[in-house]
Structure formats: C-alpha cells, structure tokens
C-alpha cells in the first residue's frame, strides 16, 4: 500500500479507531498499537499514537490514570468517557455513510 496515502487515511480515522478500541475495554498505548496492528489497520508508531491519545484526553473523550498492573511496570491506562462514547457512536454512523459512498464509487472502477 502507498504509505503516504495510508498515512493520510489514518489521520482521519485513527482517533475513532482508538476510541472504538477503548470502548471495548481500557488499555494503554503499547497494547493499543498492537490491537490496531492486529486488526489490519497496520503498524502505528508511538510517535503517531500518543499525540492522538493526548488530544483525546485534552478534549475529555478519554480519561487516563497511571496504575501498576498485576505484573510489570506502572502504565498509563486510558478509558473512554461518556462524552467519548457519545462522539464515537455519532461519528461511527457518519463514517459508515462516508465509507460506503467511497466504496460504491470505487467499486464501479473495479468491476469495469
């Protein structure tokens, strides 16, 4: 995949993907990066991910807390807030409409 284009797409949706993952359960940066990779979105570097998390935190869509895990070092755990869940629900619907529009147009090219 063209990495530059992939980067552009990501910029538009990474925060939503992060919110969606946190909607499942609270998590920390490295685990989120792994989950995003595993879901096929591709590798996300820390330099891209943490600024997104900071922005989500600043705008109150996620909250964060340093905590020591059962084993291992203390980590900063992120959790979605009610406002975050609300934003996620609304924007997921918008994204669906947008992506299906793009899909419809692009499929015409493929099948031609």
């Amino acid at each position: 995949m063209d990495q530059e284009r992939r980067g552009q797409w990501l910029r538009g949706v990474l925060d939503l993907c992060v919110l969606a993952l946190l909607h499942r359960r609270e998590s920390y940066g490295y685990e989120l990066a792994q989950s995003l990779d595993a879901s096929g979105i591709g590798p996300i570097q820390g330099g891209t991910l943490y600024p997104v998390l900071l922005r989500l935190q600043r705008t109150g869509l996620v909250s964060a807390q340093w905590r020591e895990g059962a084993a291992g070092p203390a980590r900063k755990y992120y959790r979605i807030t009610p406002a975050g869940a609300d934003t996620l629900r609304r924007t997921a619907v918008d994204w669906d409409a947008f992506a299906s529009g793009v899909g419809t147009v692009l499929r015409e090219v493929q099948t031609r």
Partner: protein
C-alpha cells in the same frame, strides 16, 4: 541513540516548548514504558526527540496552569499560581551504605513552605532510609540535612504505644510540642476528624485496626502544626475513602504553608505534587 539518551533529549525538548513539568514527566515516562514493552529503537517508534516534542506540544495545546493532564482520582483544589515560600527542608549530598551496599548516593532535595515532595522508587531503593535521615533518626555516611522550623514524622508502621488510648497519645506527643492536655486532645480530635476518625473511644492502640493505627500515627505527626511533615507511606491499611481524605488533608496542609515530604509508590499521585524525588538507582532507570 539509546533509549536513555533519547528520553533525556525528549525531556529537554518538551521543556524548551514550555510544557508543564508534570505533563512532560508523564509523556517521558509513557514513552519509556512503550520502549520497554516494544523493545524497538526510539527513533523508529517516535522519530527524533524534537519532532515528537512538537507533536506532543501541539496535541496538548497551550501550557495549562496548574498542570498535568493525568486525570486525578482525587479532585485537587484549584491552586493560585505557585508562589514558593521559604526553604523548610534542605538535603544535600546524602549518602548511606548498608554494609558495603550503597543505598543512597548523593541525594539532594529542597522543599519550600507550601510544597509537597513525593519520594518514589522501587522496594529497597532507600525511601524509608531517606526519610529517617531527614527526621534525624539515622545518620548519613555523608551529606547534610537542614530543617528550618519544627518537624513532624510519621513512620510506615510502629510509633504507637500498645497500652495507651488514642487521646493519651495526643497528650503525650502534644506535651513534647508545648501543648497543654486539653489543647492536645482538641488538636488531635480535629486532625482525626479530617480523616473521618472519632478517636475518643476507650480502645488501646494495640486493639486498633492497622488503618486506624496509621491514622493515629498521622495525627501525632501533625500535632502542634510542625513546619515540615515527613510521611512514610502513611496510608497503609487505609480504605479508599480514608485514602482520599488523606490526600485532601495534604492539600490543606500545603495550602497552609507546610513543607511536606511523602513516600509513595502510587504513580497516579505524581501529577499533583510539586517535586518528585526518584530514588531508583541510576543503572535501573529507564526514564
């Protein structure tokens, strides 16, 4: 560039961009954790320190007074801009060895009136040793501690007299700080009340629960309103509510102009203190 060098450079770049020091510390610590987890080189994960620092500064917007973005579990009262008072505790070059093993190596700390310093570090890093040296209970092998004013010390455990009632403790300790019996009892009750504890009962200290005994310890440390409070993980055995009360009490003491040193291993407190002294030995530090 290795991780330590990269993290140090990042701390410098964040500072240069005027980021709140608490927030910077969190960003650096989080990057350190990520690098430890992933085992990847920092330049690959985060890019050059300056680039990453710029991205962080943009995400958090303008520097915010009062600080950290870490969402506190205990609401911290809004503070007026920090105006440091006179220096109350001055620690310079403290070194302590047990047998041949160095526990503290050239440790410095300055705490002013109206400041809270948190002492952190792994088990065995010398946190309690450091506090005992500050309290004058233990001699360092090198270095100097100067306390400007009166001192209160709350040990991690012990410190209570098994066969005395709580109020007898207040009278005993109060006498040493120039309080009459009635004054000492009243002051003790007031401090206990802040921790949601009614100490008037006829229960000897040996029959108090661990958490209540620590409340007693804390109240004794605070009797006579000392200028400097040294608290060695005083919340052991506290339930959640008391733990929150304890931190509220610390904010009040700080607002009253006390200089407070508190040993803690709970990192979620660190965004709400003025100074953090990390006693983790340098070779084990990754941040």
């Amino acid at each position: 560039m290795n991780s330590d060098g990269w993290l140090q450079a990042l701390a410098g770049e964040l500072h240069r961009r005027g980021l709140d020091p608490d927030l910077s510390r969190h960003v650096v610590a989080e990057a350190a954790t990520h690098l430890r987890d992933s085992g990847e080189p920092p330049l690959q994960v985060f890019g050059p320190p300056a680039t990453y620092a710029t991205a962080v500064a943009e995400s958090v917007g303008a520097p915010q007074p009062g600080g950290g973005v870490g969402v506190a579990r205990v609401a911290m009262p809004v503070r007026p801009p920090h105006t440091p008072g006179p220096v109350r505790l001055e620690v310079r070059g403290i070194t302590k060895r047990y047998r041949r093993r160095p526990v503290l190596t050239s440790v410095d700390l300055t705490v002013r009136a109206g400041e809270i310093a948190a002492v952190v570090g792994a088990n065995g890093a010398g946190k309690s040793t450091f506090l005992r040296i500050c309290a004058g209970l233990l001699s360092p092998d090198a270095g100097r501690v100067r306390v400007h004013g009166t001192l209160g010390y709350c040990p991690q455990s012990g410190g209570t007299a098994d066969f005395l009632y709580p109020e007898e403790h207040f009278v005993l300790v109060g006498a040493g700080r120039g309080l009459h019996r009635a004054e000492a009892r009243a002051a003790g009750r007031a401090h206990a009340g802040a921790l949601d504890w009614e100490p008037a009962g006829r229960t000897q200290a040996r029959h108090l629960s661990g958490g209540t005994r620590q409340k007693l310890n804390l109240v004794m440390a605070a009797l006579g309103e000392p200028d400097v409070l040294l608290l060695d993980e005083p919340y052991q055995g506290f339930d959640r509510g008391t733990y929150l009360d304890f931190w509220q009490q610390l904010w009040r003491w700080r607002a009253d102009g006390r200089a407070i040193v508190v040993v803690t291993h709970l990192l979620n407190q660190l965004d709400r203190v003025d100074t953090v002294l990390d006693l983790t030995p340098a070779r084990e530090m990754s941040a």
